[in-house]
């Protein structure tokens, strides 16, 4: 939708020199560009400076590495959740997949070989879970929330079978990797950079364009030749894969597994996406914003800890922040629609 604003040179019916035409297009695009991811980064930076004021040394490489490590699981979860939300869906099952992943990790990671092998198995299970969600949503046309609510319950149940209570362990080297660094930059920050790079590549693929198309107008996308079912299956598979990936980082961070770990991360995964400026109604958003959303949630917890408030405040604050972000997103969108004369 955004691109089409500038792509109609004949709209004004007036010939312009190419260079001025390009300038006009860029101007039109910047006027209609989504400001929400940028707003999320501003919010992140404000919180970062507040936290730095409370906790001197926050801006050192080491501290930023810890911040990145704490955010990693949520950011990966948000990457997948964001892709599904772009299709105007929602994936509640990320909680179940994450819980199952951590329990498998905590019971089956014993050495380098088993860690590698079972990591692949966890990622495969996550992807398969996503494919099941995608087929049910796409092929059988069931409501995304009811399908993923059901599979969330199923995967939570399986996780309880694998490990009935929180515990288990992962090899020390595996858990320590997240605190390591390469070339003076913490590993966790490298992973975040890599994820953003993967996203910037993915965004330009045909699959991504189809996902955006389905989210902005499913019927129009269908008429334009987008095959709905395979695209939805891909979107949910990406979410499942990401939830499994998040489980690997979660197990790394906690050095254990927990069959109930996922339930508390479903809301933050949606909140990170929404704070990051992705529209819940699909078709608009970017992982660049989601990273800021995830960092915001982590920093909020850090600030709450730094001012000596009970950690339970984060649960309450996450819920309020999610609702506030939805309202702010809708408000900003309405404002922008008015400014650009009704375009997207």
């Amino acid at each position: 939708m955004t691109a089409s604003v500038g792509a109609q040179p004949g709209a004004s019916g007036r010939w312009r020199p190419p260079i001025r035409q390009a300038g006009a297009e860029m101007w039109a695009r910047s006027r209609s560009a989504d400001v929400r991811p940028a707003a999320a980064w501003v919010l992140t930076l404000i919180l970062l400076f507040i936290y730095a004021g409370l906790q001197p040394g926050t801006l050192s490489t080491g501290s930023l590495g810890i911040l990145a490590a704490d955010t990693l699981a949520l950011a990966v979860l948000g990457l997948g959740q964001g892709v599904v939300i772009l299709t105007a869906g929602i994936d509640l099952s990320v909680g179940g997949v994450l819980a199952l992943g951590t329990t498998i990790a905590a019971t089956h990671f014993t050495g380098t070989g088993t860690t590698l092998l079972w990591s692949v198995v966890i990622l495969a299970i996550g992807t398969a879970a996503g494919v099941i969600n995608g087929v049910l949503v796409g092929r059988l046309r069931l409501q995304p929330f009811i399908v993923t609510l059901a599979t969330w319950s199923i995967f939570d149940g399986i996780a309880l079978y694998v490990l009935p209570v929180a515990g288990g362990s992962v090899p020390g080297g595996y858990a320590n990797w997240i605190n390591g660094s390469a070339g003076g930059i913490p590993n966790a920050i490298w992973v975040l950079i890599a994820l953003v790079a993967v996203w910037l590549w993915f965004r330009r693929t045909r699959t991504a364009r189809r996902i955006y198309a389905i989210g902005s107008d499913r019927e129009a996308a269908r008429i334009a030749g987008v095959r709905i079912v395979p695209t939805l299956v891909t979107a949910y598979a990406i979410s499942g894969l990401c939830a499994a990936g998040a489980a690997l980082f979660y197990a790394m961070l906690t050095a254990s597994g927990d069959p109930t770990s996922g339930d508390g991360l479903i809301l933050p995964s949606v909140a990170a996406v929404v704070i990051g400026g992705t529209s819940l109604f699909g078709g608009q958003g970017s992982f660049v914003g989601t990273v800021a959303g995830a960092l915001t949630l982590t920093l909020l917890g850090d600030v709450i800890f730094a001012v000596h408030l009970a950690s339970y405040w984060t649960v309450l604050a996450d819920g309020l922040l999610l609702i506030a972000a939805v309202l702010a997103g809708t408000g900003l969108q309405a404002l922008q629609a008015r400014r650009t004369g009704g375009h997207s």
Binding site: F145, Y312, L316, G319, V326
Partner: protein
């Protein structure tokens, strides 16, 4: 005769729900004799009663095309505050119960206002509210567990009036009230109209905002009531006691043939769903399955029910 067959065919999904209850109960009796002993049936009815209590709210909300994910923590909060304030003294319940129901109504009203006026998607609004309520409860209890339930709550959950458990009488009252409200009042008609098509309902003069806020209030109050009864049954309150009731409430509604998209279904169906889930929950340990299996069963049941109902709807669309 024709009206009878027409009514039957229109309510095939609900009949299927009750058939499921009978089949499961007979299966239970076959694998474990005594499954249908009167005292065990009592137990099944009590287990189902809690699901039915949360299910009535979920039914009203889903009928309008929404969903309430905040039920578990509203239930848990009501249970914890009951035990916290009563300190074992039943007389105090005279003011505690109204306060709890009012508080839950307030939470439901905020949910409804968010959905109806601020246009926040129901999943997001109630998920956010759930987290706010959970956080608030954790702050109050500081993460510790609650205290013992007062005697009156225990009486409500475990005593019998003649042949019937008190909870069964409450369930029956809720069943009658919900059925009358849904099928014989203007509010019921407005509710179905809202669920079928909001825009058309609004054009037809239905105050969809009022309907939406009301159903979330009903859901909040029902969850609080379930919390009070559950605290009585367990004898105390603890954090996480509401957790199973999110999946259970949605599963009961889905088995009962209520459309997840809203606009069709009723609480007679959800009652069948609650009974079926109670029988299933009792069957699993007999079959040597861990409690974890219950969550898997809930998920499969929800998937199966919504798949069936969407297939049925497709068939209807073709024949109409």
């Amino acid at each position: 005769m024709t009206t009878v067959t027409r009514t039957l065919s229109r309510n095939r999904a609900i009949l299927f729900g009750y058939l499921l209850v009978v089949i499961l109960a007979i299966a239970g009796e076959i694998v474990s004799s005594g499954f249908l002993r009167i005292d065990h049936i009592d137990e099944l009815i009590i287990t189902g009663g809690f699901i039915a209590l949360v299910g009535v709210g979920q039914t009203f909300v889903i009928l309008t095309g929404g969903v309430d994910l905040s039920i578990p923590w509203v239930l848990n909060t009501s249970a914890v505050f009951l035990t916290l304030w009563a300190k074992g003294d039943s007389a105090r319940m005279a003011w505690i119960v109204p306060v709890l129901l009012l508080g839950a109504a307030g939470i439901g009203a905020i949910n409804g206002i968010g959905v109806a006026f601020l246009r926040i998607p129901p999943i997001i609004m109630t998920l956010g509210m759930s987290s706010v309520v959970e956080g608030g409860l954790l702050l109050v209890t500081n993460g510790g567990s609650g205290q013992n339930a007062p005697g009156a709550a225990v009486y409500l959950a475990t005593h019998r009036w003649g042949p019937l458990p008190v909870l069964a009488v409450l369930w029956l009252a809720v069943l009658i009230a919900a059925t009358v409200i849904l099928s014989a009042t203007p509010f019921g008609r407005r509710l179905y109209a809202t669920g079928l098509n909001r825009r058309v309902a609004a054009f037809a003069g239905v105050n969809i905002q009022q309907v939406t806020v009301t159903v979330y209030v009903i859901s909040g109050v029902a969850a609080a009531l379930a919390g009070i009864a559950l605290a009585g049954y367990v004898g105390q309150s603890y954090l996480g006691m509401g957790d199973p009731y999110l999946f259970a409430s949605v599963a009961a509604v889905a088995i009962g043939g209520t459309s997840i998209l809203g606009g069709s279904g009723n609480f007679v169906g959800t009652t069948a769903g609650a009974l079926a889930l109670a029988v299933l929950a009792a069957l699993l340990p007999i079959l040597g399955l861990q409690p974890a299996a219950l969550e898997i069963v809930y998920g499969c049941v929800i998937l199966g029910a919504v798949t069936l109902s969407s297939a049925r709807k497709g068939q209807q669309d073709r024949t109409d």
